[in-house]
Homo-oligomer: 364 residues x 2
């Protein structure tokens, strides 16, 4: 059959809360739009560790391996101190990204008209912003060797990490970004720090070479990361697609979050290499983290997670029409005034995580 | 005598233009306020290279070595391609920072009331922002070894850099930041990526240890760099002093620039270790770069450079009263409506670099 398997992993903090709403949305598409998906819920994090002694128990590993796509919530937070560092590392999101070789992380930054028309967000949500950050996710300083902390003869210490990129690592994520730019407004901005780092010099040279060889029709520009951070705040509508390395992508996407009104609005997709059938390992997750300060209170914004389902519909499930349907439903929910606390106007009571899920379902 | 020697290095791009205005201001303090300074102008960059074959000619090196403080403009830009890479590296700002061991880079982010009261800046200039980023400037990924680009047997390449911090490097810049926080509102936020990098784990551990040993009275918090980038855009008034590593400080200070209305407003001071007499090598420069696109047109904002002179008055020349006088004069010039292009309101003609210098001098 054509049944697609989706592993749903709520994780920790607000992860399970927001993922529950995204799961309801996915179920709606399965029921009402005959989307052929089989959903398998899997444990991850502190609860899993308490029960099984592993942050990622074997059943979760099996679910991940068998899945066409993963819907992930969040991980981390202070309460996880009871998990020993080795167990935590073994079961980290970083290891998962690396083991699936999820090299292309897509983070679209789009401002919803309902948000930029409403005070006080008007002051920070900028009209007409619609760009995608393509972040390299499986290399760079996150994974480079050697790394560690060493103690020196005099008792002082040194902590060190390696930022490393190869021709192949740069080209595959750049190719992804060029293809994406071609399907959009045809503009790619590559962000690096080539005035300081050799890893960035290589990055820039490979992007330039690939452009000449395969994508001369795409308009390519280059920006230093410090300038990019400023431009994202100052004039984000200048961007179409931006491609950058792992750590710069991490920082710049949070920097861009305010252009969308709140980090809680942002979805992401992380894709690995295509196999012979063109299938890619894929993990969908909101950009926000586990937010331990508000976890368990049912007030988190589920739209980052729900919009991650839209990305899944588009990129893994091949249902462009359903993706658009869902994005419109989110827009309609916002237009009808649905606001969680992070995007609420002063003096108007925010709604709960579940009520935002209701509002989206009501608009479908 | 007590004569202080200031080396004035305009450098490249808009550097000479903005520095000329800052020099006029310095001359005013020397004439009118009996500031005992001897100014020596020194060549740096493309012009110097054309004339002497060196980006930093021997006279400039001598001026730097003999100076109590350096007032620097800017360096870099596309036109410098005629300078071979080795000459450029030999004479780079980075080498200068490193050779003077300028480990503490102070970047104050302050919004002027005149700017946040004027549309359209109201939308991005945030009321009540007054914090200082203390950026570690002489170590980290900028200088770590090994670094380079290697070609592998299959013809592909790998670019790599090392992010490295030692106990001593972290502690001296953190000590500087704790002291600064103590003289202000007593709050220090240390920014790292300790959930990913060992260099950051060491950073955080050393900051925590130093806090316990020497600064228990300062309120210390920690933030991951991605969150810090977002918080700087979302709610910058939460910060008093922020301390972070070289590359994170580079990105976060540009990210913060919009809170001050424009990158052109921001000054900086870079300080090295104190000698037996308590004197520190010191370099003062605007945060902005050489801006080749507007160089030579006389339209750049000189306030970043002029406010760098105020930092020099305070930190090297020991003239707190004069520093405050100058900062007030800048405020008065802005209050009187003086606006260069970067901070001009639509429909109102901006004034030139020199006219902004005039406006500040008129307010003194
Ligand atoms: C939790 C953390 C390791 C992670 C990252 O830095 O990649 C997060 O910030 C993200 O952006 O997904
Ligand atoms: C020009 C460049 C090397 C420099 C840096 O990255 O330090 C600049 O961006 C700065 O912030 O002073």
């Amino acid at each position: 059959t054509n049944m697609m398997r989706v592993a749903v992993i709520g994780g920790e903090g607000i992860g399970p809360e927001v993922t529950a709403q995204a799961s309801r949305v996915l179920a709606w598409f399965s029921d009402r739009r005959r989307l052929p998906v089989a959903v398998e819920e899997a444990a991850f994090g502190l609860e899993a560790y308490r029960r099984t002694g592993k942050v990622i128990p074997p059943e979760t590993r099996a679910a991940i391996e068998g899945a066409d796509a993963i819907l992930f919530g969040a991980t981390g937070g202070p309460e996880t101190a009871e998990v020993p560092p080795e167990a935590r590392r073994e079961g980290s999101l970083l290891k998962l990204r690396r083991s699936l070789d999820l090299y292309a992380n897509l983070r679209p930054i789009v401002t919803d008209p309902a948000l930029y028309d409403s005070a006080p967000l008007k002051e920070r949500v900028l009209n007409g912003v619609d760009f995608v950050i393509v972040r390299e996710l499986s290399s760079g300083i996150y994974f480079g060797e050697p790394r560690g902390i060493e103690t020196r003869p005099d008792g002082s210490r040194r902590g060190f990490n390696t930022n490393s990129y190869t021709t192949e690592e740069v080209r595959r994520v750049a190719r992804f970004a060029f293809d994406l730019a071609r399907s959009r407004r045809g503009k790619l901005c590559s962000v690096d720090k080539a005035n300081v780092m050799e890893a960035s010099v290589l990055w820039r040279e490979e992007v330039i070479a690939l452009h000449a060889e395969e994508f001369p029709d795409v308009e390519l520009s280059h920006m230093y990361v410090d300038n990019a951070a400023m431009q994202i705040v100052r004039a984000p509508s200048q961007f179409d697609v931006m491609v950058t390395d792992n750590i710069f992508g991490d920082i710049l996407s949070d920097c861009a979050a305010m252009a969308a009104g709140s980090l809680g609005m942002l979805p992401s997709a992380s894709l690995g290499p295509a196999d012979a059938q063109g299938k890619r390992p894929a993990l969908y997750e909101p950009v926000h983290g586990s937010a331990p300060d508000i976890a368990g209170r049912g007030i988190a914004n589920p739209l980052g997670s729900i919009l991650s389902v839209a990305m899944m519909l588009r990129l893994t499930l091949g249902r462009l029409d359903d993706a658009i349907l869902l994005e419109r439903a989110v827009g309609d929910a916002l237009a009808s005034g649905a606001r969680t606390a992070d995007i609420a106007e002063p003096g108007r009571a925010p709604i709960s995580t579940a009520a935002m899920g209701d509002a989206v379902l009501a608009s479908l």
